[in-house]
Symmetry: C2
Subunit: 414 residues, 2 copies
């Protein structure tokens, strides 16, 4: 089965909204063994929706549509489908139920504007919205399937999972399985160069990507069933890890922060972080992991020298001598937040993200990341001068997480 | 001039990468008076790239292509353009310079793999990559313009701004100007309902969007020049603000956090925040604003009761009596972080984001957000039980920022 994803909404076309729905759906379709051939996005315009439907119809078996199901006049998706295939629009009892139940949950009255969402092309099956009001549809015609879902990601995802995925799974004839191997500290070109022969092969295929200071290799196999596809991948993954395993940190849903939280949990150890330049981003990343509250004791965002001294016990003379952005101050912050909190591990980050420099001539992009722990007192210096403010801050959190993740993985958990 | 954005890369089609390039380019094109008609994304496949080029050629004057310019064998964009239009591929001196200069910056040698990036379709003008190695092209044929840029957002953005935008601006015959009015605390349907007559009109047009707990109205006008377009919008914006201005907080680049930092800076006041459930996200949002270091004194992420007491002076008896997730504890955190830091304002957030509840039966999604300041001691209780872990955390930061932004805007700056 070949699919095309058609996203409808002027907000996409004028750059107001990132089309994350297409990305999310692509993942789901691939996991279900359905090849996605194209993403198309058009504005709220009958003619262009109709043209896009025709092209998708000619090229694919499954047309997955999002957006344009709301109550306002620029929500045209169902009207465009009806017009394109010459179907009348009818008020559907299931679609009306979708609207009525949502309004009841929200304590809002039914009115003509909302009631418009109950009108769908005749012959289609209404899909009740589990997380909102607008109904979607499942429409089969001449060997093609057209499904529509709301554009709001939360509603789209719920409708996909509860209404559409089960129907599609029942028809699938093969499984595509893929794993994402994650690396840090190696340029994409070096990874691709070392594995060139693997990148050229077809099943399993290996494709490199970059994102957020990390390099990913997606290994994908297609087979009649999931177990066979998984088995196909084993020797390829083994070879990749034998070649560039030094830079490997995790796979699929693993993130540096989830591995750190897991590592700490497994060792029954705790962590506290003191941040200056990263402004709470490191704490935010760590506490975004469910279960972090068991191991994360304290985050201190100490922008000023006074706070570094008062909360973390950093000696003011140290700051005077070396500057707030320096190796000794990062180490003192790590040791200080560890002492203040009683945590097993302390991280201290200080740096300069710009746009302005400091009065010591420290270059924008200079960051010091210190780790303090049992028998550990180290500091990494990095120079991210080619990056902007946010990437500098991000990369500083990357260095901190990678250092702790490696330390936790390398040491004997006892 | 009508444009289509064609993004090439299997990583898009399999859901590995969100197509943020299309969004970014749409904004830039709209600002330059160029109507974007469609986004299309296809994988690294000669046939599908060629089909997409043909369709875009038939429908538009300007084809903006991203991705597929790299050195690996699956980077096919220039080869596909050459094949589609029957042009030979030639090594171009400017394109070679783009590659060579980047390699020099990175201290890496030239090799055949990298040199491939210097080969472009004959008759096109090479665009030197300001932020990477792969060159783009500017190709004019039969009244159409085709431009290509790398898929890496940072490189794409630099090439657009330095190489392509100036050339396009020189040809523009009209300006599209748009403003985004931002609201918080009003459902999209209520905003749309109150302004229905405005949503129906064409120039200026008014379109509603939602995102991250905020509602936006984009007002867009098209005119021969920017000043005329701006003037067209004034009465429409006035009417919108007269109708739902109570929920308005800013426009265009304004964010709640940027307005808070601006407000504090203007009043020469300072801020400290104590976070539990939001885990540093509030501090992160605030410190992401350039200049935050002048007014942001301290962020304390105190997950444990002990840290709340030790760092913020929250009375353990208060936590025992009311629980860590309670109105009195939020107020004590706000007052405590204010006292500890000496800041003008203190914010305290405590809540439950799940997945697990606490042992007092507090529902997941319950959040308390307290503000302490000169003559101010208040606490907002919110119930985000319908949301997931991250949206609960996000919405808590929204409430905190909105409360402080309103307080700063409403009070006399003296």
């Amino acid at each position: 089965m070949r699919a095309e994803i058609l996203c409808i909404g002027t907000e996409l076309i004028i750059g107001q909204t990132v089309n994350s729905n297409a990305t999310w759906l692509s993942k789901k379709l691939a996991a279900g063994g359905i090849d996605v051939m194209r993403h198309v996005a058009v504005g709220d315009n009958m003619g262009r929706i109709s043209d896009a439907l025709q092209l998708a119809w000619d090229r694919c078996d499954l047309i997955v549509v999002t957006g344009g199901l709301g109550p306002t006049d620029d929500d045209l998706t169902h009207a465009a489908i009806a017009a394109h295939f010459g179907l009348p629009m009818v008020e559907d009892p299931e679609a009306l139920r979708s609207v009525a139940e949502a309004l009841q949950r929200w304590n809002r009255p039914m009115n003509d504007v909302s009631r418009k969402m109950a009108r769908i092309p005749e012959g289609s099956v209404a899909l009740v919205n589990p997380a909102g009001s607008a109904a979607g549809i499942w429409l089969e015609r001449a060997g093609h399937i057209i499904v529509t879902m709301p554009g709001v990601p939360r509603e789209m995802e719920a409708m996909w999972q509860q209404c559409i995925e089960p129907k599609l799974h029942a028809r699938a004839d093969s499984a595509i399985v893929s794993h994402l191997l994650k690396f840090v500290g190696i340029p994409e070109q070096d990874a691709a160069g070392a594995l060139k022969h693997l990148l050229d092969q077809a099943n399993p295929s290996v494709a490199p990507y970059v994102g957020n200071g990390e390099v990913y290799l997606r290994v994908t196999a297609k087979a009649p069933d999931t177990a066979t596809a998984e088995a196909l991948m084993v020797p390829v993954i083994d070879e990749i890890l034998a070649t560039i395993g030094k830079h490997y940190f995790g796979r699929d849903g693993d993130t540096l922060e989830s591995l750190v939280i897991e590592g700490l949990t497994g060792r029954r150890e705790t962590l506290a972080v003191a941040e200056s330049v990263t402004g709470g981003w490191l704490a935010q990343r760590l506490t975004a992991v469910p279960g972090a509250s068991q191991v994360f004791l304290l985050g201190a965002v100490t922008y000023t020298s006074e706070m570094k001294s008062r909360l973390l016990g950093v000696d003011p003379a140290l700051i005077d001598a070396h500057g707030a952005v320096s190796d000794p101050v990062a180490r003192a912050m790590a040791a200080g937040v560890r002492a203040t909190s009683g945590a097993t591990w302390g991280i201290g980050i200080t740096g300069l993200a710009g746009p302005l420099g400091d009065d010591r001539g420290t270059p924008v992009g200079r960051v010091y990341i210190a780790l303090s722990g049992p028998g550990v007192d180290r500091c990494d210096e990095r120079d991210f001068r080619t990056l902007g403010r946010d990437p500098i801050r991000w990369m500083a959190t990357q260095v901190a997480l990678r250092r702790l993740q490696q330390t936790l993985a390398g040491a004997d958990p006892g």
